[in-house]
């Protein structure tokens, strides 16, 4: 078998994944902290104030990376949910469910920071603009997935039911992304683009990209940490989990 495929199969085994994640976590946290320090230095000190928005535009450096992560986490959750439903891989169920609270956290930050940015620039905390509304629906979808997962007793059935809901909710992602084009009301259109040139000065752009990198790395750190706990609980009867516990006092066994 192809070594990469072989490694993927090995990674699907809970004890192997538990050790693998444990080894990577400190590095992911360290990279996150370093990238965040560099990014925030650029965001607060080197980037010049915007000629129209003044210093309020600095909210962008927390708002935009979190908005990207809210969508990215949803895609990651749905992709793992798809694998969990089709191939019934336990690790995929775990990864899908672990990404839901992280994605919800990012979406929540996006909404709150957006509100804090909207007040000084638009003159309102909230409006039923298409982008804002679809982003709120995204947060409710995360809540739905998390709620459904906790409402069903059997952990694996719960994960599959919630994964199904996550897949249905994917229809909201293009709506969030294209809402600023389809219904051009208050929220501005995107200035940073993967394809084609970005409409933003390089001195303002690089801290944003560094912070986007930091939040991506953080997302994987949080998902790995949460998956480790979920696997411990899911496999609590197995030998590999017992081996992790402090030696039992077997005086009276």
């Amino acid at each position: 078998m192809n070594p990469l495929v072989l490694w993927f199969h090995k990674l699907g085994s809970p004890p192997y994944f538990y050790r693998f994640a444990g080894r990577w976590l400190p590095w992911l946290y360290a990279i996150t902290l370093i990238a965040a320090a560099v990014g925030f230095y650029g965001a607060l000190f080197t980037a010049p104030a915007d000629y129209q928005q003044g210093d309020s535009f600095r909210i962008m450096y927390v708002h935009v990376p979190c908005a990207w992560m809210g969508l990215f986490a949803y895609l990651f959750m749905a992709a793992n949910g798809f694998v969990a439903l089709v191939w019934r891989i336990k690790l995929s169920e775990t990864l899908a469910m672990a990404s839901a609270p992280v994605g919800a956290a990012f979406t929540f930050i996006t909404l709150v920071t957006g509100s804090l940015w909207g007040k000084p620039t638009w003159g309102t905390w909230w409006t039923w603009d298409a982008r804002l509304t679809s982003e709120l629906v995204l947060l409710f979808l995360y809540f739905g997935v998390i709620g459904l997962y906790h409402a069903i007793e059997d952990r694996r059935q719960a994960a599959r039911a919630a994964a199904f809901l996550a897949l249905v909710g994917i229809v909201n992602l293009p709506i969030v992304h294209y809402s600023v084009i389809w219904w051009n009301t208050l929220h501005q259109a995107q200035t940073v683009s993967l394809i084609g040139p970005s409409k933003i000065a390089p001195s303002m752009l690089w801290p944003l990209l560094v912070l986007a990198f930091a939040t991506h790395v953080y997302f994987f750190a949080s998902v790995l940490a949460r998956s480790r706990v979920a696997l411990l609980e899911l496999e609590s009867g197995k030998d590999w989990v017992r081996a992790l516990l402090p030696a039992p006092e077997d005086a009276h066994v």
Partner: protein, 56 residues
């Protein structure tokens, strides 16, 4: 320096946004740490109960 903290009048909005970002993500990072500790404690307790049932 006070100029920096004042953000030319946008201090409340900018610093609140950064604070929300920091607080929510720090809480998110700590959650699995506590959950892991609780899970290990629960599993240990369950095994101990099972072991004592067997002997009695």
């Amino acid at each position: 320096m006070s100029d920096f903290f004042a953000m030319h009048g946008y201090a409340f909005y900018v610093w609140s946004a950064y604070a929300v970002f920091a607080v929510v993500l720090i809480a998110d990072a700590l959650a699995p740490v506590f959950a892991r500790r609780r899970a290990l404690r629960d599993i240990t307790a369950r095994l101990r109960r099972a072991a004592s049932r067997k002997t009695s």
